[in-house]
């Protein structure tokens, strides 16, 4: 999915927080960097349809926001909210609302839990996990329904080194499969190791 931003302007209480003249994200992995307050999270929230903007345009494959686009993208935040049910049910949730059969749900959930090496957590309650575990489960919950556009807002900040390597490999593979991945990070080394496409947002 291609995302094109044209003359995008966002203000909070009349103070401009984002001003993008022209920016395009194409298929593959793009890292977004910038100092605190440069509008990285705001940008992802606008693209995901969670935040309105004052001026400009956001186009998805050259089309405005529609229901189909909405259900084929997701955003994982730094501190994701875990539903008060088991890890398995958290990950299964996006599939259940898309009316997948129980067998399909089971297969997909088990597969993604195994990929992210969190199978042993599947019976734990989502709201009783550590910060790093929450981030891994949130990533599994996002990847399970194969969104065309995956946005990650500092979604690996609490992970240990071993988990991080595995997650980075999964994200790279996912982008290579023809999906668009926007990855917000403060870590330049991480960004460089992930991709050559790095966008640096400047504070307005």
């Amino acid at each position: 999915m291609n995302i094109r931003l044209k003359n995008l302007e966002k203000k909070f209480y009349k103070k401009p927080v984002l001003n993008i003249e022209n920016l395009e994200f194409t298929k593959g992995l793009t890292c977004i960097m910038g100092s605190n307050g440069s509008g990285k999270s705001t940008l992802l929230n606008i693209i995901s349809g969670n935040l309105n903007y004052e001026n400009g345009q956001v186009l998805y494959n050259d089309k405005p926001f529609t229901k189909d686009i909405y259900s084929s993208m997701t955003l994982v935040e730094q501190k994701p909210y875990m539903l008060s049910r088991s890890v398995y049910d958290n990950v299964a949730y996006p599939l259940r609302i898309r009316r997948y059969t129980n067998r399909e749900v089971h297969t997909k959930v088990e597969e993604i839990l195994q990929n992210l090496q969190i199978t042993e957590l599947k019976k734990n309650r989502g709201d009783e996990l550590s910060g790093g575990e929450i981030q891994k489960v949130a990533l599994a919950r996002a990847l399970v329904f194969s969104p065309k556009l995956l946005m990650l807002d500092e979604s690996t900040s609490n992970m240990d080194k071993k988990s991080l390597e595995n997650v980075e490999r999964i994200i790279r593979n996912y982008a290579q499969m023809g999906n668009t991945v926007l990855f917000v990070t403060h870590d330049l080394n991480q960004a460089k190791s992930l991709t050559e496409n790095i966008v640096n947002l400047q504070e307005v």
């Binding site: 995901s48 969670n50 229901k67 997701t74 955003l75 539903l83 996006p94 609302i97 996002a142």
Partner: protein
């Protein structure tokens, strides 16, 4: 002092003696309060979720009004409902005055602002985060509503139980619109008032104990839920 101790003894005897009049009063009380609370829940919960999640013009004014109505005296609610249901009122043709239906309507009016306010408060605090998570995962419409209710089920149940407690313990509204008619609209609270004024303390104490028992049961459920969450 003896009459109090004797009253308690006779009351306990009355409770275990399967006195039909007593059980009829208890059954009607529970029926009226459960009905009023549940009908109110059907209306209040979706409304509170909608209002809690949306930002709209005059939301602050609405919130203040809601909090004011939460503490409306029950006699005032009874009076208002009676004005509408009485023979000369706009709904007089329905002939609901002095019936259990009128009592349910009064309790519905009484607990609706309370339940709406309690759920509104919860949704205002946590609901937006749940809504955002649901939307990011692709939920819309009814799926989103179910998700929010399911995530807030403990708090919503607590709001339901608090509203039920308010309904079953109030006396003013049901007295006005029900009339405390024996075997027809007589409930625990109106009976206590009546038996006390008649000097029939045994049955008044028995009913008081039953009311206390129901409150204890409600509180146990409520704290059971809280405990589960902690």
């Amino acid at each position: 002092m003896d009459y109090i101790a004797n009253g308690f003894l006779k009351a306990l005897n009355l409770i275990v003696s399967m006195d039909m009049e007593l059980y009829k009063i208890i059954a009607l009380s529970i029926f009226v309060s459960v009905s009023g609370t549940l009908i109110s829940a059907l209306f209040s919960i979706p409304l509170a979720i909608f209002l809690g999640l949306r930002n709209f013009y005059l939301k602050k004014v609405y919130t203040r009004l809601l909090y004011t109505f939460m503490s409306t005296p029950s006699v005032l609610v009874g009076l208002l409902v009676a004005l509408f249901l009485s023979r000369r009122g706009p709904f007089g043709w329905m002939q609901l005055m002095y019936t259990p239906a009128a009592m349910i309507i009064a309790q519905f009016v009484l607990v609706t602002p309370l339940m709406t306010g309690l759920v509104f408060n919860i949704v205002n605090k946590r609901g937006k985060l749940i809504e955002k998570t649901g939307r990011l995962l692709g939920a819309r419409g009814i799926d989103l509503l179910i998700l929010i209710i399911r995530e807030l089920k403990v708090e919503i149940t607590m709001a339901l139980l608090t509203s039920f407690s308010r309904a079953i313990s109030e006396v003013g509204a049901v007295m006005i619109v029900g009339g405390n008619i024996k075997g027809h609209t007589r409930v625990i609270t109106t009976s206590i008032v009546m038996f006390n004024s008649m000097g029939d303390y045994e049955i008044a104490i028995a009913l008081g104990l039953i009311l206390l028992l129901i409150s204890l049961l409600m509180n146990s459920i409520l704290y059971g839920f809280k405990g589960d969450r902690q």
